[in-house]
Amino acid sequence: MAHCGPKTKRRGQSKQLSGGDLHKTILLMGLPNVGKSAIFSRFTGLDVMVSNYSGTTVEFYEGPMEIDGESYLLKDVPGIYNLEDPNDDAERVARQMLEDGPEAIVFVLDALNFESSLHLLMQVLEHDIPTVVALNRTDLMKSRGLRIDASLLQQRLNVSVIPTVALRGNSLDVVKYAMAQTVKQEARHTVPSKDKDRWRVVEELREEVVKTTPQKNGADRFSFLAKPFPGIPIALLVLAVMFGFVIGFGMGLRQYLLLPFFDNLVFPYIRGGVEALTDSQMLRAILIGDDYGFLIKGIEWPFALVLPYVVSFYAMMSVLEDTGYLPRIAVLLDGVFKKIGLNGSCAIPLLLGYGCGIPAIMSTRALPSKKQRLSVAVMVCFAVPCVSQTGAFIALLAERSIFAFLFIFFVSVFAMILVGILMDKFNKQRVPFTLMELPPLLVPAPKLLSKKILFRIRHYLREGAVPMVVAIFFAAVLFELGFFPALGRAMAPVVSGWLMLPEAASTPLVLGVFRRELAVLPLLDLDLTTVQFFTGALVALFYVPCIAMIATLAKEFNVKTAVFVFIGTTATALFVGGLFARGYDLFVTLFG
């Protein structure tokens, strides 16, 4: 995926490069949350990559785009408010990209954040690169009684200014046309802010081009969402509905579509085919056996048991993101998070962690301090089950006892808070100021939304399903070679003695290192009591996240952190699991 895409750094391309050269770059710049990604999405195809600017943790999207028969690389520069803060990574990256000599810039000037956008535009124009301005969100502007004189602005700055509605794709062709003209020319805009107070210039320019008719205040219309009441009940309701949808929709997809499809249409043919092709008992067991039959479990687990929840989780998460509701949750939780040294914005990586830990750890980069990054990453590793594992929990527990399933989530939240408190205890630091914009709420555009969801499902198929299939293949071979039973005997003191599970339950513990859900799924085929299932689930929850997450930790932080998490999670898992098994046992002996 994406996050391990190549490190990109391209320097000083000149216009002499031959036509069709992919190294010619165009930068897409603007404030955060102003529709930059919508424009990016519509200008590029599905062939999009996430890259890191070398030497930094700042991520950006890039993808090929065609203008007038020539290919360019369009880079979606991280949204920033300023270009001059030396301590802000995103701003440093944006500055570096400007200095790398792009062919042109598409600047997204937000009609709603007019002054701040203009202030950034002034700074960008000072770099003397040919620029096209997309005056975006003109639809919302009208509904708020604002009128912006685009042609006057065009005159004052001497750049093309095109009113657009990026979310619906309006006028983006015009932007492309203007780009075709602009890339051929030298920059010829005027920079009115040179040697003057930029904010003053901006305010004067605004006076000139913006006409306001007083109207009902737009920002206030949904302001109740950020107030404790009714904001918090609504947030709880939204999260509950989201949770319900993820599980309900996922279960439905699995039960009524995918399982019947594989069980009735696919597996009989695979079984028949393998039986016709080989008589070897060993080969048959590896390929279609009941334990780790590669062609059966290797398809069933990743595609019928886990995929449905991946689809439903990312559908829901993408809707939440695109409506602009998440920052409101962050604001509501801010006070509570501060008690453990975090900001409300930490809620977003934690929520993402319920999808997959890797993007969650990567997204901690946006957090304001190193300490917060580490805290949140460790919280995700210890206590947040990924969607694959949740799917496995549902298969394991929900069908036996919905209470046990909900209890696992309760334990997860409780443990997350506990880990947060401990991380804070060992590394007390001043909490950075919370200062953020709450973007206006929007109805997501179906086309952009579906592209985003598809992108994430594709990521799961590549980075999740493929390794799972490989792991199941090795499991199938090792199982038939008698490796697991031997391992089971070796691990008996821990597995049977301490956790009170059958020896065969040592297999998921080994597989679980590679894939989180594989710490759960093999338990399905064992004949266990509900208490044993629950013990297994508890162990799996706290167990080593998965080898890919450990690697991400080592890359994002350092090897020491990765080793600490590896050992810490294993120890916690065995300790908590054993405690539960023995505690229950004691309870039954005393009161049963």
Binding site: L112, S223, L332, G335
Partner: protein, 84 residues
């Protein structure tokens, strides 16, 4: 801190911290910490702000400036002075 130069001191105002506004009330900024992000979010001298929600459990206050909603840390908000 930026000095209060935009408003003559001869007139008398109720100079107050932003926290003293009640919900829905407006004020004009007289003094604001010198942070580039605050300026970019519209919290600059002379701007009219409205309090949307007060801090809860130590969380931020939410302000409306130029039709945008901005969440500002409680401690930071205490350093912004306004006149009603």
């Amino acid at each position: 801190m930026k000095p209060i130069d935009t408003y003559p001191r001869t007139q008398s105002y109720d100079i107050e911290c932003i926290h003293s506004l009640s919900r829905g009330e407006e004020g004009i900024i007289l003094e604001v910490p010198d942070m580039s992000l605050l300026a970019s979010l519209g919290l600059r001298l002379g701007k009219r702000v409205r309090l949307i929600s007060k801090s809860f459990a130590g969380g931020p206050v939410v302000l409306s400036v130029d039709d945008r909603s901005i969440a500002v840390d409680r401690e930071l908000a205490e350093q912004i002075t306004i006149r009603k």
